[in-house]
Symmetry: C2
Subunit: 397 residues, 2 copies
């Protein structure tokens, strides 16, 4: 008998995926270059060449039995050491290999982190708007995801609502900065206030509250901003990292958990992650990718195109009098729709071959997301279509 829990999930198709499929189908009719597809967060710049060169060298020169052999269940020691050294250098905390657990990108990192610090029935708080895949990662563990309403003026944390929702069942808080879908990076003030509240609530409730920090967009920051790791502001924190965006390797499923070295249980939690992996048949990421990534930890793809695209789109949106907060990073922007129902708004945009994603499933109805990880040339060609859409469909606003 099939497990009905997973059968039921089949009927809930992702809006993003449906729109992406529409874009592909429309592309077959009119040429994909004419579809202004802002649906998917798929990097649009190639991986740093050093990564490819490194992998080819490993394949050509390394003993294949060593190269393709089992990874220890907690990760390849020299890879963990290299990651720890890089984090220590960049963020100034005393990371060691014992704090590091290589994972199949941020998805696995978050899924492991949640299982590590919650039991079924515990609550995990996150902040709207949020990445909808947090639902399956957390629901499947048995913990309960609770969503703090957004602060739409600036998309920083709505602390009043947060304080109202924190309770003794809150075992973890999940943040994502710079944020998908808003593109907003939390300010220093936001991160410090969050850490202060969590510290106080730990004391009050008499148990740890872990901060799970989803950081795949950490390196994609604009306007010369410093690359920050939100997880370094609070001792009981778990950094969930992926090379998917910074190195344009989304299909290679490679990332890591780094438990804050000032967390008293860091090494124990890494060991627990090994056991969580066993149970789900996950084990470690591939040996080849672990070794390949260890050689390019401080490299990124050329990420400048995202800021170029953001400025083009942001300026046009402002000119068209959209309500929108200027992104501080990522490759997303998150304007308010021009009517209450963003689904209707995005449906109308399809007539202009503009693929925009309504934000209902991100926990922020009335807004929409544009993923501008596409060629700048296409961004430029899309702007007249955006203008035509707005002027035709909303002439009297």
């Amino acid at each position: 008998m099939l497990n009905q829990k997973y059968v039921d999930m089949l009927s809930k198709k992702s809006v993003i995926r449906q729109l992406s499929e529409f874009a592909t189908a429309r592309g077959k009719e009119i040429g994909y270059e004419n579809v202004f597809d802002y649906s998917l967060g798929n990097p649009s710049v190639p991986v740093a060449p050093e990564f490819t060169e490194g992998l080819i060298e490993l394949l050509a020169k390394e003993d294949p039995m060593k190269l393709h052999g089992y990874s220890p269940s907690l990760g390849i020691p020299e890879v963990k050491e290299a990651i720890a050294a890089s984090l220590k250098e960049r963020f100034g905390l005393p990371y060691t290999a014992d704090c590091i657990f290589p994972t199949s990108a941020a998805a696995a990192a978050i899924a492991h982190a949640v299982r590590c610090v919650t039991v079924p029935g515990d609550e995990v708080l996150t902040f709207a708007p949020y990445f909808p895949e947090y639902n399956p990662y957390i629901n499947d563990s048995g913990a309960v995801l609770k969503v703090v309403p957004p602060q739409t003026e600036d998309f920083q944390i709505n602390f009043d609502e947060f304080l109202r929702m924190l309770n003794p069942k809150t075992m973890a808080v999940l943040i994502n900065t710079p944020n998908n879908p808003t593109g907003i990076a939390y300010s220093d003030a936001t991160l410090k206030k969050l850490a202060k509240i969590l510290s106080e609530k730990q004391e009050e409730y008499g148990h740890d509250i872990f901060l799970i920090s989803d950081e795949p967009y950490r390196e994609i920051v604009f306007d010369g901003a410093k690359c920050v790791s939100a997880s370094t502001y609070y001792d009981n924190s778990i950094m969930c990292y992926s090379f998917s965006k910074s190195l344009s390797l989304p299909g290679e499923r490679i990332g890591y958990i780094a438990v804050n070295p000032n967390c008293k249980d860091a090494a124990k939690m890494v060991n627990m992650c090994g056991q969580i992996s066993r149970g789900i048949g996950h084990n470690c990421p591939t040996s080849l990718l672990q070794l390949g990534i260890a050689r390019v930890l401080d490299k990124t793809s050329d990420l400048s195109v995202y800021e170029t695209n953001m400025n083009l789109i942001y300026n046009e949106l402002i000119d068209l009098e959209f309500t929108v907060v200027k992104p501080g990073g990522t490759f997303y922007i998150f304007p308010k729709a021009l009517e209450d129902d963003a689904k209707v708004f995005c449906e109308k945009a399809l007539k202009y071959d503009l693929i925009l994603v309504p934000a209902d499933s991100f926990g922020c109805p009335g807004y929409f997301r544009m993923a501008y990880c596409i060629d700048t040339e296409k961004v430029k060609r899309s702007l007249p279509a955006l203008r035509k859409f707005v002027e035709t469909e909303y002439p009297n606003r």
Copy 2:
């Protein structure tokens, strides 16, 4: 607060791993070449060169954005098609891409299969001796693993015990042939009888019973035997495959689920696996490995060394009057220990630098496993040590 379920798992160290660690430590004292390490099932022959050449070509020539892009959540279509075509050709069933779900090797395949066809509290039957990692794969899903006692004369299925243990809560039966740890392949008669019983019990209980077939050793068969897939004998079956052993790629975590195309829910089950993956943050295996493996589906490493090693060891064991069934495949052999407590027996063997694994954790006390995936030259050097161990410790048996 840390999840105690995973904390508790930390104290249960794998016997195999402990022995392997002992072997490594002892190797540092006397040189690893002098430690007769039969502990780990780690392939000892290199990957087929076509695999390495194929990966290098992909890295050197393919568009990096395409090569490293997201895999669709059910796997890369052309990879699934290639796997289906290969299985159809080899095993004569009408496999299509819709039956195939690429996984992070057999561990993930089994973990997904169990979640697909059971709910917490359901029973999964397997046959002793069995691979101890089945415990975490199944326990973590909430299903209950029940172990049918062994038939030690030939290590085929003990059908009397099996029939006694089958009951309406049995939703799946998990087999592994050729088998770790015995090296025995189930006969045609065994597989047909198993299929007949399962068909009858489905009818009697009024629900499906799925056969989950763990087949990583399928290609390592001896004495000119035909490579068989046990999952082709029964419609409601799920093949769990890994390239870890046949291509010596254990660290690359690449394999697949192939649902029998005659199973009425095959395509639905593959879709469900996509949802199971989402929940555990697993997603698909890496794009690079999926594409790389698709080019060498019908290749293997040079596996002949395992039969050479088996014959050397088997003949010596027979000469030393061990009770042992001759393996039909794999790189394991499974003799009876020379005293009731195999742990004591294996402990004594350590004095002779022989690393043997007692089979208590495989559900078959009194036996031990030797993993002879080591150099033939070392196997030859180990035989005098084995003889000395037996003659010194058990002079009067």
